[in-house]
């Protein structure tokens, strides 16, 4: 039995939009084990992204607990959460979310800046990571000089910057053509093989083959939680 990295314990999240209150999560119980490739499936508005924000410490629950490596993060300050995110979690977004004024190299260095890594180490590690995702010749390119697939690979390199144990990917192939999408999935699969825990949110059923566990979310609750044999 492998270790639990993240545990969502009866988590609810209600967004207060003034007159209406939206219940995005209505009591989620989920344990993410170390070394898993977990896909959270659901239609848009199902609460899957909110669920991922909880796992990624980007947001705190309205009620319930979120435990990361056994620590209850629900009550931590935003600054403490930021530290945890920076060290333990790497994010890959559908929109890539690179900083447009920075080169590929600088984008990958960014998470290390906030962890106080010195410049030389940063540069070396960022170069290595970009080589690893096949962008060794694109170090000094700005995001708008890169294709969608290349941008997403920069984002993956950035997610790996502080060598986190958990990679969170929110529709990482959503804005890519199928070839670039396959390349990105290949990199994520490789990372999983190297021992990283990968949690991916998607609504694309064709991706389920990459995962060894699939969680279906609808209307803020977990419908199905299936292990897959590969």
């Amino acid at each position: 039995m492998s270790k639990t990295i993240v545990e969502l314990d009866n988590v609810t999240k209600t967004y207060d939009l003034g007159k209406v209150k939206v219940k995005a999560l209505r009591g989620i119980n989920l344990k993410v084990k170390q070394g898993e490739f977990l896909i959270i499936m659901g239609a848009s508005g199902s609460g899957k992204s909110t669920c991922m924000n909880m796992i990624g410490c980007l947001d705190v629950p309205t009620s319930g607990r979120v435990l990361l490596d056994g620590i209850n993060i629900s009550t931590l300050s935003e600054s403490k959460l930021a530290l945890i995110r920076g060290r333990k979690i790497g994010f890959v977004f559908q929109q890539f979310n690179l900083i447009p004024s920075m080169t590929a190299l600088e984008n990958v260095e960014l998470p290390m800046i906030f962890q106080g890594v010195d410049k030389k180490t940063r540069r070396e590690r960022a170069t290595k990571l970009l080589n690893q995702v096949g962008l060794g010749r694109r170090l000094e390119h700005k995001p708008n000089e890169l294709s969608g697939g290349e941008r997403q690979r920069v984002a993956i390199a950035r997610a790996l910057a502080n060598n986190p144990s958990l990679i969170l990917a929110d529709e990482p192939t959503g804005n890519l053509d199928s070839k670039a999408g396959r390349e990105v999935m290949k990199i994520l699969t490789d990372l999983h093989k190297e021992g990283k825990t990968v949690v991916m949110v998607t609504h694309d059923p064709s991706l389920i083959n990459y995962a060894d566990r699939i969680v279906h979310i609808k209307d803020g609750i977990i419908l199905k939680d299936n292990k897959r044999r590969k």
Binding site: D59, A82, G86, F91, N97, I99, P100
Partner: protein, 399 residues
């Protein structure tokens, strides 16, 4: 860490170059005006104080209240002053602006009529570093002989005037017998000196004294002696403190009066500068708010990859201070150049070197620290706004 932030910011400033520069220009203008105004005011103050220092503190000056037209002071006053207790010696001069002609060029110089008796000479020599650098001094018995200030000899006319040359002053030919060394002050250096008797004749002022200088006895207080002189002259004229047409000033009085005036001028200057820096600061605040809104998504990204609130705060504060500091540095340069220009123009147009640029490292450093402070202050509220954004909301933001 801070250096890393600066990298992030420099990138960003390059990205929106025009807007950054427009904001920076606001700061440049205010810092340039602060630097030029203060350096000139301080220079003026230093110049005035130096003149008083040269004169020594044991002197008293009696001058007409208004320096236009004929002086109300006369030879009779001078004699009365000499009788006052504590007065060692006293001497009067004639001092007028007069046309001076040399090699067909006509200029204006400060004509000074010097009494040539021994007592007066001693008094004047102790007041100013009055040195003959070429030729000889005026001596008793000299008539149409003239001494030229260093600038009057070399600078006022296209051609340099030498000892032995002839110049025409008020229609009379004078032979140059000596050149006086520079006092470091254009006004003084533009003076020409003739025997007082000759000056009186030419100006048709047989009795007037434009300025009376008094040497106080050793052991007498200049303040006390000045009061006695004033009382004596008041009695003579039958006037009171308020209606008297002259001023009796010790050097300390005089420098205090002028310094008080300069403080007022400086306060006004600083007030103007303060308003302009306020405008510049508001400019930074506006730019920073716009920047925070534009960069909402980037703030979200940075937070997602581990930036704490304090990191975001620091990044935005560093950006606003950098904008302000760049403005400060450039403004400093322009301010110095501007002040130098004012100095040069004032020398050329008004023949006064009292307006001198006076730069101290305290001023330079102070201005830079001040612009940094303005940057921090104007960036504070936008930076706080940026740091408090929640990552989820910030990431969802789109323009």
């Amino acid at each position: 860490m801070i250096l890393d932030y600066f990298n992030i910011i420099l990138n960003d400033l390059k990205h929106k170059r025009l807007r950054s520069w427009l904001t920076i220009i606001g700061i440049i203008i205010s810092i340039a005006s602060i630097v030029s105004l203060i350096s000139l005011a301080q220079g003026f103050k230093a110049g005035v104080n130096k003149q008083f220092e040269n004169m020594g503190s044991d002197k008293i000056t009696i001058a007409p209240k208004i320096f236009v037209g004929s002086s109300p002071l006369t030879k009779i006053d001078l004699e009365k002053v000499k009788q006052v207790n504590g007065v060692k010696s006293a001497s009067g001069i004639i001092y007028k602006i007069a046309p001076l002609t040399f090699s067909n060029q006509r200029k204006y110089a400060y004509l000074t009529g010097l009494p040539l008796d021994k007592e007066s000479k001693e008094l004047f020599e102790s007041m100013k570093s009055f040195k003959i650098v070429e030729g000889r001094d005026l001596k008793p018995g000299d008539k149409y002989k003239i001494l030229l200030g260093s600038y009057a000899a070399d600078g006022l006319f296209d051609k340099r005037i030498k000892v032995g040359d002839s110049v025409t002053l008020l229609g009379k030919k004078f032979r140059v017998v000596g050149i006086v060394g520079s006092f470091g002050d254009r006004e003084d250096d533009s003076a020409v000196y003739v025997p007082v008797t000759i000056a009186r004749n030419l100006l048709n002022e047989p009795n007037a004294e434009d300025l009376i200088f008094v040497q106080v006895d050793k052991g007498s207080e200049p303040e006390v002696v000045a009061k006695s002189i004033e009382k004596k002259l008041d009695n003579l004229y039958g006037v009171t403190d308020k209606t008297e047409p002259f001023l009796v000033l010790t050097n300390e009085d005089l420098s205090k009066r002028i310094n008080d005036l300069l403080i007022v001028v400086q306060v006004i200057f600083l007030g103007i500068a303060f308003i302009s820096i306020l405008v510049g600061g508001v400019g930074i605040t506006t730019t920073m708010y716009t920047s925070v809104v534009e960069k909402t998504k980037e703030i979200g990204i940075m937070k997602a990859v581990g930036a704490r609130n304090s990191d975001i705060l620091a990044i935005f504060l560093a950006e606003s201070s950098l904008i302000s500091l760049i403005g400060g540095i450039i403004g400093l340069g322009i301010g110095v150049v501007l002040a130098k220009l004012v100095q040069i123009i004032s020398v050329r147009a008004m023949a006064t070197s009292l307006i001198q640029v006076y730069l101290t490292w305290q001023l330079l450093l102070g201005v830079l620290v001040f612009s940094l402070f303005i940057g921090l202050l104007s960036g504070l509220s936008p930076a706080i706004k940026a740091s408090k954004m929640t990552p989820v909301k910030a990431l969802r933001f789109s323009m």
